[in-house]
């Protein structure tokens, strides 16, 4: 019995190991353009990965229906990065080495984006993503990266400006010690000063996943600041917020919108009213954003829906347009065309179909996206995005202010 089991197991594992060889052979025959979609389907980014992957797939399907790119079909291969750089690197290895993708789209966590960057650089693979660590540009030596999200510093700047404009010139700061909040500390303080305010009390970082945040909450409001800014994720922000309420804090609480969704509102009930939160938002009401929503089967309703999926939509459109324009799938050639099409000058286009027609006619184009205008600095970082400030009133997010951040 045991011998048979072992033999069967060995045969089975050999089959599993060998299957890629068989597959690759089959795929090489039809020669589609392989594009990697590496998204967080579990872990911290889990709520957003599916909408990004879905946007990639749908854009590619639409382009394939109309005849593909350079006459070739686009084959999107989705992998889960588990919001973890270790799993992300293994998945990226598979995409780069087994599937021979020319680009990896959709990474969300900065740690994953930066973790796979050495492999992508070594193999000349493009990276189009939404990550915000200020360190991201440092890893790119070949001009292969394009970020569809503003960097941390500009999140802090935009939120500080929004706070000052809504009448709060002094604020204290406490955030989880992760890449996101830790690089915000300084830029938030600087931006407050620049806008005519100041940072009060001490600004500090706490460890996420603590059992209690009482000490942090006490420290935050010790100097009784008129406002506090807590750029946490939903779990730690909810815990800190509860402690603030328990301590009788009467000032204004500012947060990041991804921490104040339904989960937060349900957890704290009426206490959520009055919390202000901000976020980089898609241009609500703009034709491009509505077109994206319709493509994925949603109805534009004046609210933010799929905040990351719209960036996934832009990533795929822009990449495919650049391939069409470059008449090549070589990333080292395509990268220049991404920059040219994103920044213009040229005629405004919002979809691959529109752009491909103009490219065929030999006209310059400028892509205008669903997540932003999609203009890049020379280092591939996004130039600007809309930020919106909301206030929770009667359990609902009510828009207060909107600004565009030049980053």
């Amino acid at each position: 019995m045991s011998k048979t089991t072992r033999r069967k197991f060995l045969a089975g594992s050999a089959l599993v190991v060998a299957s890629p060889v068989v597959l690759r052979h089959a795929l090489a025959q039809s020669a589609p353009i392989n594009v990697g979609s590496l998204v967080p389907l579990s872990g911290g980014g889990g709520p957003y990965g599916a909408e990004i992957a879905d946007a990639h797939q749908r854009v590619a399907a639409l382009v394939n229906q109309a005849g593909g790119v350079l006459g070739r079909q686009v084959n999107v291969i989705t992998e889960n990065d588990e919001t973890n750089p270790e799993a992300g690197v293994r998945a990226a290895r598979k995409l780069i080495d087994a599937d021979r993708v020319i680009a990896i789209l959709g990474t969300w966590a900065s740690s994953v984006t930066m973790g796979i960057m050495p492999l992508a650089q070594e193999s000349n693979v493009l990276q189009l993503f939404t990550s915000s660590s200020d360190d991201i540009p440092k890893g790119d030596k070949k001009g292969l990266i394009f970020n569809f999200q503003p960097l941390n510093a500009s999140w802090a700047t935009a939120l500080a400006r929004l706070a000052v404009r809504s009448g709060y010139k002094e604020a204290a700061f406490a955030g989880p010690n992760n890449d996101f909040a830790s690089s915000m500390v300084k830029s938030f303080g600087d931006a407050l000063v620049e806008a005519g305010g100041k940072q009060t009390g001490d600004s500090f970082l706490y460890n996420p996943n603590q059992p209690s945040y009482r000490a942090e909450a006490e420290r935050l409001i010790r100097s009784n600041p008129p406002a506090v800014f807590v750029p946490g994720y939903v779990a730690d922000f909810t815990a800190v917020f509860r402690e603030l309420i328990r301590a009788g804090y009467k000032g204004r609480v500012f947060a990041i919108s991804f921490a104040t969704g339904p989960q937060f509102k349900k957890a704290v009930g009426d206490a959520a009213n009055g919390v202000m939160h901000g976020f980089p938002v898609p241009p609500i009401g703009k034709d491009t954003y509505d077109a994206y929503l319709k493509l994925v089967g949603l109805t534009p309703n004046g609210q933010v829906q799929n905040p990351y999926g719209c960036a996934g939509y832009d990533q795929m459109q822009l990449l495919l347009l650049a391939i069409e324009s470059a008449k090549s799938t070589d990333p080292m050639v395509v990268r220049g065309h991404i920059m040219k099409i994103a920044n213009g000058p040229g005629e405004r286009v919002t979809t691959f179909a529109e752009g491909a027609k103009l490219i065929a006619a030999g006209k310059p184009i400028n892509y205008d996206g669903a997540s932003s205008a999609v203009d890049f600095h020379p280092n591939g970082m996004l130039k600007s995005r809309d930020f919106e400030l909301y206030e929770i009133r009667d359990g609902k997010d009510v828009s207060v202010l909107r600004i565009t951040s030049e980053t």
Binding site: T5, P20, P85, E86, R90, S182
Partner: protein, 319 residues
């Protein structure tokens, strides 16, 4: 595809070293170490700091990682080895968590959650991309081979027999005059050193490390490798690491065969497959794919039957 297999073999080789180290600690000595990633991460960061901040070559980074791994292993186990099994497990888990928090919070040294970029590689510049990855695979295989040979030698020696005796019942070797504490300490330190060395090699392979690279799921993966492969058997530890990596990676290629599942469902299915495989092994083959060899000297059965006969003969004469 070849380069993908090379990359996956490289990762599997690193896991195999970790599984071998854990096999010495748990499989042979019975020390429950849930803090595998603590030593692994310490090795990675030590090596990164030594090469990047001090500008020393990779060999120095590896040596420093080994030294730090030894000190950390001695400290963690010296403080807690007198505790019985379950308590040691909790202490090691706490150790790994402490390491992760220190790496995450001491920004001035480790750059915290922003991650540490490593440019030093133990690969000659003249090699191309494919050459470099082959070279790296070779390096990992050398480490795995060294670890395997050393541990296999230990296992077969009287030293290994003492470790197994301690695992089964520490009172017996203690009665025979063996210093049980010293043996446990040594086994734990040797294991920690190997884990730190694996961490060093891993860090220079991936070239960007963050505290997120060293979270408990990796420790669980290594435990899975050992349980699936067969605790107490060095070949089993290696086979287990290869099998677990094959399942983890191979399940990616199922996607084209199940087109009606979307990416999210497919990704969940992968974890289900991995879980079922583990449960199936524990249910139907709790001793692992390759169980621990029976450690009787080959002549013993012959000897005992002879003495049995002699006894019978003498017994017969006496009556």
């Amino acid at each position: 595809m070849e380069s993908y297999l090379i990359a996956i073999l490289t990762i599997a080789g690193i896991y195999a070293v970790l599984a071998l180290a854990l096999n010495l600690q748990f499989g042979m000595t019975g020390l429950i170490n849930f803090g595998v990633v603590g030593f692994y991460g310490l090795g990675a960061y030590t090596s990164a700091l030594v090469t990047e901040l001090l500008g020393l070559p990779f060999a120095a980074g590896l040596a420093a990682a080994i030294a730090v791994g030894a000190v950390a292993g001695a400290a963690a186990s010296g403080l807690s080895l007198r505790l019985s099994g379950d308590f040691l497990a909790i202490v090691t888990l706490g150790f790994a968590e402490t390491v992760r928090l220190v790496l995450n919070n001491e920004d001035w040294l480790t750059r915290g959650p922003r991650g540490f970029i490593i440019s030093t590689r133990p690969v000659p510049d003249t090699l191309g991309r494919d050459g470099a990855s082959l070279f790296y695979l070779g390096l990992v295989l050398v480490l795995a081979l060294v670890a395997f040979l050393v541990l296999e030698r230990l296992r077969r020696s009287p030293y290994g027999r003492t470790l197994r005796a301690i695992r089964e019942d520490d009172l017996v070797p203690a009665t025979l005059g063996k210093n049980v504490f010293a043996y446990r300490l040594q086994a734990f330190v040797i294991g920690s050193v190997l884990m730190a060395a694996a961490g060093s090699i891993y860090a220079h392979y991936v070239q960007t490390i963050t505290p997120d690279n060293f979270t408990t799921p990796i420790a669980i993966l290594i435990w899975m490798s050992l349980v699936v492969g067969g605790a107490g058997n060095n070949v089993g530890a290696v086979v287990g690491a290869l099998a677990v990596t094959a399942i983890y990676e191979g399940s990616r290629f199922l996607m084209p065969f199940i087109p009606w599942l979307n990416a999210e469902q497919m990704s969940a299915l992968r974890f289900i497959i991995i879980g079922i495989a583990l449960i199936a092994v524990i249910r139907f083959r709790p001793e692992g794919l390759l169980p621990e060899p029976v450690n009787l000297p080959p002549s013993r059965t012959a000897q005992s039957s002879t003495s049995q006969q002699q006894y019978q003969v003498t017994g017969g004469t006496a009556s």
